[in-house]
Amino acid sequence: MYVFSAIIILTLLGLALGLSLGVAAKYLKVESDPLVERVEALMPGSQCGQCGFPGCRPAAEAVVLGAAPVTLCPPGGSALVEQLAKLLGVDVDLSQTQDVEPMVARVSEDTCTGCTRCFKVCPTDAIVGAPKQIHAVIADSCIGCTKCVAVCPTECLQMHPIEVTLRDWRWHKPQLVAA
């Protein structure tokens, strides 16, 4: 007898909860996807456009919709990939992804004319200078978006790999044996 009452109660409970969830889904629908907000918060937010989307918000929307892979953001690196995969419940084979070597822009003093074009486009104000003065890049603030390289009329801005110092030297990963 207890068995039947348990089955009946649980069935009713299931139906009632399902119904209420269904109603809630229809009437309490959230207009903007909160997931997009969370994904956007994880992204660098510099609107650099390296992913091919016009900014971090559209990129976040695409990731949430599944139109873009979680590996889309080069400045975010593998740390962002891991976070996004965790948030969205996607499986990523991290051993296959490889971080692109981070690059920063550097001004060649010989050819800089002080045209000020580069620091006007820099999204993080990482370039300092004044008209007709040689400009300089603050490497710590540069995100490697290459926008300045595109506008430089004398090609004096070039991307260089970040110099390794004692402070940020790291042990490499042990090599796996072949076969």
């Binding site: 891991e82 991290l94 993080t124 990963k173 042990p174």
Partner: protein, 496 residues
């Protein structure tokens, strides 16, 4: 299987070939010829690098301050001999990467003229603060390998109600005997240093833990400390890593430091025995830390021995003094073979952290082929922290660092016991070092991402403000023009 039968005070560990016999019965050599040039890096300690205050061409005396400490966690560096400052430049550091570090180069004049510091009359009656000040001013750092500024630790001890000072004389690393010899020859000074440290922290008792493979050192220390009741000298079994401070503390007191805590949390401060000697030199004789005893050993060394070396001497000169056979040299290590750093070449200076210089021959080293993990769990038994090295390594292999952190990666002390016992020769500790470095880089990247976001936000705001101001200006100009036109129109009307 019989883990429960083992000494419960000691977890894990290994017993490696000691190789201490080559050097442990030879006196400390003090006749190393003074090098022509000394290379003194401004950072030989944990914390901020010291800031040079000497100029190129300036004449300095032995013991004179070369660079002062910056910030709370830092230590000054002093001139190891008298001479002229030849240069201040970036030179290779004693580090596996041999990347450059800011280095003060002194051309020695061979006169060894000391800078005059006032020597206290009654050093054992100085105030606790005064002792800490003198220790800090002399650039004393932990000489066991961690090179943490000792004065910071003493101050921390005074603020935290310390009951016990633990002097770590385990020296569990194979080959190294520098602490052993120091205790054999200079036990009285060490005991003096321990008394000063006790005074500096207002602590009541000190325990000196010495591994039982150093009977002479134990006897010497016992004799030297016989008249001081507050100092007890205890023998501990020889088992690597006995010299890991937490292991030693657990063995001697039965207390365990919490995973994310410090020894001060349970009322204990741990110092290395060589640090006690440096403290004695600093306080009683006003001599800054400008030299240290270094074990020079290994299969490629003809005369293995302990040498008192001025800080800044090139390792190649020390090795030449001990008769290194270059054709035999296969690997150069600073420190012990378990936790020391592999160096690419010997043209780097001896620093405060250099406890040993090991020139290993091809027979000494073993370069095995790595095989797959057979899940034998030898590494789990050997791990003194109680971690699961095999599981952690498999996570790291798949780049799942967060999973490795969940398994306790941050508690790994990189002692190398797991790599030592692994029958498949998996470089486990290398994986953990890689992962720790990677985690640190990631933290830096996250920090940078935050900075970037802030910078980008500020820029957007500024752009909006500039735009709004421009619009405002334009509006004002338009209004002014409209007003003027209206006034002109009115004037015309009136004239008409």
């Amino acid at each position: 299987m019989f883990a429960f039968l083992e000494n419960p005070k000691f977890r894990g560990g290994i017993h490696a070939e000691e190789h201490k016999a080559e050097t442990c019965d030879k006196p400390i050599a003090t006749d190393l010829p003074l090098p022509k040039r000394l290379y003194i890096p401004v950072q030989q300690h944990v914390g901020k690098p010291a800031e040079p205050i000497v100029k190129v061409g300036e004449h300095v005396l032995k013991g004179q301050l070369l660079a002062y400490s910056q910030g709370t966690i830092s230590a000054p560096v002093h001139a190891p001999s008298s001479g002229v400052i030849f240069d201040v430049q970036d030179l290779p550091a004693p580090h596996p990467s041999a990347l450059p570090i800011r280095t003060i180069v002194i051309e020695t004049d061979g006169e060894e003229k000391w800078f005059k510091y006032a020597v206290p009359e009654n050093p054992f009656e100085l105030d606790a603060e005064e002792i800490c000040l003198r220790v800090g001013g002399a650039g004393v750092v932990g000489l066991g390998g961690a090179v943490f500024p000792s004065a910071v630790k003493l101050n921390l001890g005074r603020k935290n109600q310390i009951h016990t000072l633990l002097i770590n004389a385990g020296e569990c690393e194979p080959y190294l005997t520098c602490d052993d010899l120091l205790m054999q020859e200079r036990a009285v000074e060490i005991v003096g240093g321990i008394r000063l440290m006790l005074r500096g922290m207002n602590a009541s008792k000190a325990i000196v833990g010495i591994e039982d493979n150093k009977p002479n050192a134990f006897k010497a220390m016992q004799a030297a400390s016989a008249e001081f009741d507050q100092i007890s000298v205890v023998q501990v079994p020889t088992r690597y890593p006995m010299g890991w401070d937490r292991q030693m503390l657990r063995y001697l007191t039965g207390n365990e430091i919490p995973a994310d805590g410090r020894a001060t949390d349970i009322g204990v401060v741990i110092h290395n025995v060589a640090t006690a000697y440096a403290v004695y030199q600093a306080v009683c004789l006003s001599k800054p830390l400008i030299s240290r005893v270094v074990t020079v050993s290994g299969g490629a060394v003809a005369k293995p021995q302990n040498v008192e070396v001025p800080i800044g001497t090139l390792m190649s000169e020390v090795l030449a003094f001990c008769g290194v056979e270059n054709e035999k040299l296969a690997r150069l290590i600073m420190g012990g073979p378990m936790m020391g750093e592999v160096l690419p070449h010997a043209d780097v200076p001896v620093v405060k952290a250099t406890s040993g210089i090991l020139a290993l021959s091809h027979e000494d080293i073993f370069e095995p082929e790595m095989k797959p993990c057979i899940r034998c769990s030898s590494c789990v038994t050997a791990c003194p922290v109680g971690l699961l090295p095999l599981e952690m390594a498999s996570r790291i292999k798949a780049n799942k660092l967060d999973a490795a952190v969940d398994l306790g990666l941050k508690d790994c002390i990189s002692c190398g016991s797991c790599s030592y016992v692994c029958p498949s020769n998996i470089p486990l500790v290398h994986y953990f070092k890689f992962a720790s470095g990677e985690l640190f880089s990631r933290q830096q990247r996250e920090h940078k991402a935050e900075q970037t976001k802030r910078l980008a936000d500020e820029r957007t705001k500024r752009m909006e403000r500039i735009k709004a101001e421009a619009e405002e200006d334009a509006r004002r100009v338009m209004e002014a023009r409209a007003a003027r036109q209206a006034a002109e129109a009115k004037a015309q009307e009136e004239t008409a």
